[in-house]
């Protein structure tokens, strides 16, 4: 094969042409190989078409295959020439050797040249009823390819009916390929907007599928299992029957078969009424899922993503198996991240100690990103399991004691969340946190510490000094830190009215507000916040159901419905449960945000505190909004997806929660609006003091007047609801 590696010579094609016409068989075959070699490295050998074509009629199957390979490659660009080959193709479909018959029909299907297709139908008709199963199964797939090119030919020739009959074929491989072909056509027809279901699975078909399932190859099994997932059962007995027949697939060596089987069980288990059977099925799911983790990391990752989804629906599947998810230091990062998430999901009072010592170990690893995630996981565990919170705090304090900068910063952020969940419980650690004040250089960590200081101002002797540090550097701080400083200063004032003049000066705007009605301000700023909790699911229940139906697929791996990344929507985008689209459409979010900002602008007249007509009920809105915002991570998460919006900076400080990295999107469409309202309120409160985001009120107001009234109403309702 020296010619393969040799640099291109002048007139190489000329030499090849001579060899292709050689009188010696071996020389011709060798020349074909060289042509194919050139073709595969993208050299143009299309000029040799007639010479190669001459070698098509041969007894040597290998040579025939190579010529066919060449034809498939150039059929698109040289359709006129391919017509010359049609006769040989048609003749080959009558060859006594089934391999030749199958090869010919397969190649004809791949040529994708309009002119050849008309010649395809008759041989295909014959091959679909060939005595040899290999030819039949090849022909079945060929129908799907033909449908792709010219659907009307498939329908005119009755190929669909033939395929339906072939589901009853005696050979399981033929059945499997027929199912695959019908599924392909079904999807193609649906995408083209056809209303008739091409591949309807009746109970008769179901039985044939169940029989073939145990006998065909792994790829056939996946095709059949996918079809079974689409079947709609009539009663619970039928569902039970399917589940029982599918369960043995859990023991297949192929991971793809295993997950497809799990998907079918998850779908049909919904209608199983027997509790014992459900329990049994859930129990049987654990071993194959664990086995998937002995695969190479790539497969592990896909499996872990799917396990993550499954656990959201059925947290009990792997309750005793947390240890298999422990990370090894040389696992790829993508595997570790998924394992971490699953470990927290599986955490319970009985295994929390093992989990914590493991997480502590991870926090000393080399990879900074992984260390941060591990510390976050400690916080999540504390919030999830009340009785373990103290142990979590101890571990965190130990970690903060290492004084490794990023460990300390992440630790402070996590501690803030723990304080939110367990107010006034772990005040003893506050001095330690404050001692690390100088180490903090990340806005998120700084803001968290400031929040803690403000919240516990009356317990910290030098709270005013500490805040003074931030007040002095106020203009240099990032926006989130500035906001948090302001809030903290007000809290400090309310909790320790004797605080220094300097601080109070800085909070002048608040003071004006406060002086009007300190009681109301107190009720708002020091209000009881809704408790923080760990979202049990990262996707909404409706979306979860949909994704479970898609397991295993790209959709379930990305935890997003297929429609969001696959262009042609089979189900219109509207059909997706609205709260489910975590990636809340950028445009819509921005639009809403602007509207609410506009609402805030409108409301600015509220700042005119001296106005005697000022409505007391409305007054707290601005301040209340600040606090509400601090306490609703969901709002910030909702926005954090749209970074192009300058307003996001405003709230990014609160996006730190760690708890809600993927906080469940609000289930009702009404809710995001109200969060945003709160946010609008904030922007007017902050404006006089600090660089406000670029806004053009006039334009915004022009956009917003109609909804504005309602929205304000909404904001108030929501605020009242919160307190």
């Amino acid at each position: 094969m020296a010619a393969f590696r040799a640099p291109p010579r002048k007139g190489e094609n000329f030499e090849l042409s001579a060899d292709l016409n050689s009188e010696y068989k071996e020389k011709r075959k060798d020349a074909i190989k060289r042509v194919i070699a050139n073709m595969t490295v993208q050299k143009d050998v299309s000029g040799l078409f007639p010479d190669v074509l001459k070698n098509m009629q041969t007894d040597d199957l290998e040579q025939k295959k190579l010529v066919y390979l060449y034809l498939m490659n150039y059929a698109k660009t040289q359709p006129e020439l391919v017509i010359l080959a049609v006769n040989t193709f048609v003749k080959d479909t009558d060859d006594p050797n089934p391999l030749v018959r199958a090869l010919a029909i397969r190649t004809m299907g791949c040529l994708r040249a309009e002119k050849i297709i008309d010649y395809l139908c008759d041989p295909l008709q014959k091959c679909l009823r060939d005595e040899n199963p290999y030819v039949r199964k090849t022909a079945a797939l060929c129908v799907a390819k033909l449908y792709d090119l010219k659907p009307e030919l498939v329908i005119e020739n009755g190929f669909l009916e033939t395929l339906q009959e072939m589901i009853a074929d005696s050979n399981p491989m033929v059945v499997a390929n027929t199912v695959a072909a019908l599924t392909d056509i079904h999807i193609a027809a649906a995408a083209a907007g056809s209303n008739t279901e091409v591949f309807v699975i009746t109970s008769a078909v179901l039985n044939k599928l169940l029989i073939a399932l145990n006998e065909c190859s792994e790829w056939g099994r996946v095709a059949i299992l996918n079809a079974l997932g689409r079947y709609e059962t009539h009663d619970d007995r039928e569902s039970e029957h399917i589940c029982e027949r599918v369960v043995p697939q859990f023991q297949h060596a192929n991971a793809s078969v295993v997950l497809s089987a799990i998907k079918v069980i998850m779908i049909h288990m919904r209608s199983v009424r027997s509790e014992t059977l459900t329990k049994q099925l859930v129990r049987k799911m654990a071993p194959p899922l664990v086995t998937l983790l002995s695969n190479p990391p790539e497969v592990q990752w896909v499996a872990l993503r799917d396990i993550n989804l499954l656990l959201q629906k059925r947290p009990d599947i792997l309750s005793n198996e947390m240890r298999v998810f422990f990370c090894k230091y040389n696992d790829p990062l993508y595997v570790k991240v998924e394992k971490l998430d699953i470990m927290v999901r599986l955490a319970g009072p009985n295994n929390v100690d093992a989990l914590l010592s493991e997480l502590k170990e991870y926090a000393s690893e080399v990879d900074v990103d992984f260390v941060r995630r591990s510390i976050k996981a400690i916080g999540q565990t504390a919030i999830k399991i009340d009785e373990a919170a103290e142990r979590c705090v101890n571990v965190l304090m130990e970690l903060i004691g290492t004084r490794v900068s990023y460990v300390v910063q992440e630790g402070v952020v996590v501690m803030k969340d723990i304080f939110r969940k367990y107010p006034s419980t772990y005040e003893g650690v506050i001095p330690t946190l404050c001692a690390n004040l100088d180490e903090l250089d990340e806005p998120e960590a700084k803001a968290s510490l400031i929040w803690i200081i403000g919240e516990y101002a009356n317990k910290i002797d030098n709270a005013d000094e500490l805040l003074g540090i931030f007040v002095d550097s106020f203009t240099e701080e990032s926006y989130p830190v500035q906001l948090q400083t302001l809030t903290a200063v007000v809290k400090l004032f309310l909790r320790k009215p004797d605080t220094s003049q300097d601080v109070r000066d800085r909070a002048y705007i608040y003071w004006r507000l406060l002086s009007t009605d300190p009681g109301a301000a107190k009720a708002v700023v020091l209000a009881h916040r809704p408790p923080i909790s760990l979202p049990r699911t990262t996707v909404s229940p409706a979306l979860l159901e949909e994704l479970l139906g898609e397991i295993p697929s790209l959709a379930s791996v990305y935890h997003k419905p297929e429609e969001t990344f696959v262009g042609r929507g089979r189900i219109g985008a509207d059909a997706i449960p609205k709260g489910g689209s975590e990636l809340a459409d950028d445009r819509a979010t921005a639009q809403k945000a602007f509207q609410t900002v506009a609402a805030g602008q409108q409301a600015e007249n509220l700042l005119n505190f001296d106005d005697p007509t000022s409505n007391d009920g409305q007054q707290p809105t601005g301040l209340a909004a600040t606090t509400v915002l601090t306490s609703t991570p969901a709002a910030t998460n909702l926005l954090s997806g749209t970074s192009s919006n300058p307003l996001d900076d405003l709230v990014s400080i609160f996006g730190n929660t760690g708890i809600g990295t993927n906080a469940a999107p609000p289930p009702t469409p009404g809710q995001p609006q109200t969060h945003l309202n709160a946010f609008g309120g904030l922007s007017f409160g902050g404006q006089p003091m600090s660089p406000a985001p670029p806004m053009t009120p006039s334009v915004l107001q022009a956009v917003s007047p109609p909804p504005q009234q309602q929205q304000q109403q909404g904001a108030q309702d929501d605020l009242l609801g919160l307190f």
């Binding site: 595969t40 199964k137 043995p248 997950l259 230091y329 697929s553």
Partner: protein
């Protein structure tokens, strides 16, 4: 929804083999290759690049994704569009790789280039142009695609034709058993079972086992004539859990009495995989102990490691202990016991310590220092130790007997055990 095609890249990221893509534009595979190379260069370590890359705007309706795995110097890409199952793609890639191994032995860019005609034929047979994997059973494939053999090469060089043309089976897939071909004949009938077990464990610094599991595979090499029906029974199959089987195994029989009843494929295959879960005791013990202290100083550090075998009769072979010395590590210098060697790879920053044989109850030591450009070096918090124990199985799985029905001959049977271990030992 299907696999669009397969690409094999060499170590420099250039494609050597491409298949499929007839229905798409020529740019389609190129965009994926580019996306992959881009992701690899961006990842902190190439192994950290996401295994499923989302590739938007490839010109077909709807975006697509690229699944990739690296085996040896080669990287295999499975491209897919629509909502396909990535596992399906990975499973196909694994299958295709094992087919290539079976045909060519060790895989390298050279072998693939030399045998590109066979590779292309294999691709044509295994992956249908519609994106459905078709024939992937080695037994069936060898009927249709002739493996390159010395004989056919010699013949083609000598220019003898006719003889070299494949004497293919004229009745492919006529076999009622899809995984076994008909008319197999051997002069001596033999079957070998290799029970290979791997211990994967994580141990904390006090030697306490955090996780340990043993995964086993029964590799089988079957050279039996005709259509034998085998019944393999173990004397102690109870602790085998989480089993998965080759499709030839009759599952009902296994769940009834833990015996394996099957008609084997011809040649090599994996009969079953299992997890060994000992009853009573919680964990499988790690067969050695490691005592380590690592101290980090400014721009460097020192370490002192002692390894002792806990086995009483068997020898641990090819023990390899490695420690990642952290970002910025530049060199190391060590003193080691006799019969062991060490080296430091400045590219991966991993220190390797190799011990050819750790005889029962023997001890070895490694002492040394390393230097680093990082002011506070952060070596990884665990050692990784890998080893082999020939003629041993953690589960001590014993084959009780092998009964053969359907054929008259008495085959020669062989059963071997071998074990490997991959232990993470924290310090």
């Amino acid at each position: 929804m299907a696999i669009d095609g397969l690409v094999i890249l060499d170590s420099t990221g250039r494609p050597i083999v491409q298949s499929g893509f007839r229905s798409t534009s020529p740019a389609y595979p190129l965009l994926h290759i580019e996306a992959l190379n881009d992701a690899l260069s961006k990842a902190p370590r190439p192994a950290d690049a996401d295994p499923v890359l989302y590739v938007p705007n490839t010109g077909i309706d709807g975006p697509s994704a690229c699944c990739h795995v690296k085996r040896g110097e080669l990287r295999f890409l499975g491209l897919m569009s629509g909502d396909t199952d990535p596992l399906y793609v990975f499973a196909f890639l694994e299958t295709f790789i094992s087919i290539l191994r079976d045909y060519f032995g060790q895989l390298s860019a050279e072998t693939l280039k030399e045998n590109f005609d066979v590779v292309y034929q294999l691709l044509e047979e295994t992956l249908d142009a519609g994106g459905h994997p078709s024939t992937t059973s080695i037994n069936a494939l060898k009927d249709i695609v002739l493996p390159p053999s010395l004989l056919s090469k010699v013949l083609s060089v000598a220019g003898v034709s006719g003889l070299a043309s494949p004497g293919t089976n004229s009745h492919p897939f006529a076999s009622p058993i899809p995984w076994r071909k008909v008319g197999v004949r051997y002069n001596s009938n033999e079957i070998f079972f290799d029970v290979a077990e791997e211990l994967k464990a994580v141990v904390n610094k006090n030697g306490g086992i955090i996780v340990s599991s043993v995964w086993g595979k029964v590799h089988t090499n079957c050279r039996l004539s005709g259509t034998p029906d085998l019944l393999l029974s173990f004397s102690n199959a109870q602790p085998l859990t989480d089993c998965s089987f080759h499709p030839c195994v009759r599952l009902q029989r296994w769940s009834r009495d833990k015996n394996l009843s099957f008609v084997p494929p011809d040649g090599r295959f994996i009969l079953m995989e299992y997890k060994y879960t000992p009853g009573g005791v919680h964990h499988v013990a790690v067969p050695f102990a490691l005592k380590a202290s690592v101290d980090c100083e400014v721009n460097g550090g020192s370490f002192d490691v002692a390894l002792t075998s806990r086995l009483t009769t068997k020898v641990l072979e090819n023990m390899n202990v490695e420690l990642y010395l952290g970002e910025g590590a530049t060199s190391a210098s060590c003193v080691v016991s006799n019969n062991t060697s060490w080296n430091f790879d400045p590219r991966t920053r991993i220190l390797h310590w190799n011990i050819k044989a750790v005889s029962p109850s023997s001890s070895f030591s490694l002492k040394g220092t390393f230097s680093s450009t990082a002011e506070q070096p952060r070596p990884s918090h665990a050692f990784r130790a890998r080893f082999e124990i020939p003629q041993h199985s953690f589960s001590s799985l014993k084959v009780d007997q092998l009964k053969i029905t359907g054929e008259m001959y008495k085959p020669y049977k062989g059963v071997r055990g071998r074990s490997t271990g991959d232990v993470e030992w924290r310090w």
